[in-house]
Symmetry: C2
Subunit: 363 residues, 2 copies
């Protein structure tokens, strides 16, 4: 059953007349058309029975067709009222719309007001949970793309390691990485590439800067690529020169925590239990207070999506879920280590998508 | 009068109890704190008399202070309900909030519903127009940053021209440009850098790709940088090798159209008249049907902001407005030329911020 059919089934089951999807990531998910329309209207309207349609800026119609959307495409010019065109096209389907499912976390109030003014007394239903539930389990085609995206992230870490030398700045290392990826056809990173060295790695939200890398530093890479519309996200921490005892100790505990969580992944385990598995390893070594964030996050069309791997999420893992596992220990002003893999839940365990070695690399 | 005071005056004049600003560009404008909070709550709440406050994720509090926000900062952790914290902090100001100005083009329906549920019967006022009107006129500090951003865009075009040689691909030229900018401290482009060659330049929405640049091509660069939170945006079209007669003819008409519009900029002229000035030059040479977009757009914290320079915008230009002037002629499959400058309206005319030569550069 394709995504549109799944939505139609949902509408029939819930007795909702139509759904209007406007979050660009969700539009891509159901239509294969990826676009950032900025302030312009982009959306897919789905009905219980009638044919769905895609509405987009006029000039993007050829791109939408090329992307593989075979249904009707309704264009709007900048001089037209896009919401009125939406309303008229919806009416043309012959179904009276008294209830409409929308992504309340994405729809803006001005468009919401316009829907009310155009469609009249209408009941709005929150669609976010349904689409998130669909997206959280990846099919085989999606998994294959995520594997490719992860391989590109592995390659990026390899390039980063090779570029490190005495006195090179974090920004220069970042530039080497992105340059190498561009040569492999990567046009967008999934977020700002992070290279943090020395005590800067001890801040979980530090920014890549002008600091010169020196012997004795740990260097933390956190990066990912966008590949065929899907994201990867990897973190590795490596040593430039022989690490000291504290660096080795922190690295060791983070690596064991990460591996323990990876090993615990299988259907039926809760997100909270997985978070706890890694956290216990770190707490048992006395570093608990320095693991200040959740274990990980879902990964797919968005670099942060469902599920969220945190201590109070009782969601049970299912085969096909893809997420990061990324424990870290940050001893302020001293040493910071994070190790992050992208993993997929399989029928009976786990597939680790990122393959770069996790034993401490000494450069 | 600083931006917060301007908003306070507006609230008093309009008898609105408070304003809640959540668009990250507007938050930056009023607070100096630039952040992309993704799904997390970020906002500034302003009252008629009481002290404003900024609400942001807990871990961003140090960044907000460093950015220069001297007022109260209220943090929220991922485990907390940020909207409830907002409500409690607002209540602590001692003012009953019966009317609240919000950016309806940015506020999402789920937050809107939360505001209604927390604040009760409340009247919402559209704040977008007010903030846009404030942002549309730049002060001297903003103009100075925009001059610096434009100089970096000039430099990028220079690098692009120097990198062109037989057989280099568009993506390789783009990479050379971005690498050079990174070395000058530019961490973000204001949009995807565009390099289009040959007949690809004849599509106003073409994408930088693997095409190899050849003698006889026109090459179109469209790019800009983010500098101190503000954007530049420049387009130049250059010839690789001796241009043919049609290329020269199209270039000449676009250059004259662009210059005519630049020369016509002064306070009191309407956006529509400016668009018409350039369009007439192009129409008089018989290329009118190939100038398929508006003349330009406002430029500042956002790369596309107010004012919009199109044929039906009767807005009168004022000193301090900054926008692009970017006529283009695209003869499908054959030749495409666009020339774009960033300009500021002065008390009696125009200041052109981008300085790269506009006579046809033959490389």
């Amino acid at each position: 059953m394709n995504k549109i059919e799944q939505l139609q089934t949902y509408l029939r089951e819930q007795s909702i007349d139509a759904a209007f999807i406007t979050n660009p990531d969700n539009v891509f998910y159901v239509s294969s058309f990826k676009s950032n329309p900025h302030e312009r209207l982009l959306g897919v309207m789905v009905f219980q029975e009638a044919a769905p349609f895609l509405i987009c800026p006029q000039m993007e119609i050829p791109d939408a067709k090329n992307a593989g959307w075979a249904g009707e495409i309704v264009g709007h010019a900048d001089t037209q009222n896009a919401m009125e065109i939406l309303h008229q096209t919806a009416l043309s389907r012959g179904t009276e719309i008294k209830s409409l499912a929308i992504e309340k976390s994405h729809m803006t109030v001005d468009r919401y007001d316009a829907l009310i003014s155009l469609f009249g007394a209408i009941q709005f239903v929150q669609l976010d949970d349904k689409v998130n539930a669909m997206r959280v389990v990846k099919d085989e085609a999606e998994l294959e793309i995520l594997r490719e995206a992860a391989a590109l992230a592995d390659y990026a870490i390899e390039v980063g390691c090779k570029s490190i030398k005495e006195g090179i700045t974090e920004i220069e290392v970042m530039t080497e990485i992105e340059l190498a990826l561009k040569k492999r056809g990567v046009t967008h990173m999934s977020f700002d590439t992070t290279v943090l060295s020395g005590s800067k790695a001890a801040s979980p939200h530090g920014k890549t800067g002008d600091r010169k890398i020196q012997k004795g530093d740990l260097v933390l890479f956190d990066l990912g690529v966008v590949h065929k519309g899907y994201c990867s996200d990897i973190t590795r921490t490596v040593a430039f020169g022989e690490p000291n005892e504290e660096q080795k100790a922190v690295y060791d505990v983070v690596m064991r925590a990460e591996q323990a969580a990876v090993d615990a992944v299988k259907p039926g385990v809760t997100a909270a239990a997985l978070d706890q598995t890694a956290r216990l390893v770190i707490e048992n070594e006395g570093y608990g207070e320095f693991f200040t964030h959740r274990l990980g996050h879902g990964l797919g069309i968005s670099v942060h999506e469902f599920p969220s791997l945190h201590g109070s999420n009782e969601l049970k893992l299912e085969a096909g879920m893809v997420f990061t596992i990324e424990p870290g220990v940050y001893v302020p002003g001293k040493v910071g280590v994070r190790i992050e893999d992208d993993v997929a839940v399989t029928a009976d365990g786990v597939e680790v998508l990122t393959k770069f070695p996790k034993t401490l690399q000494i450069l």
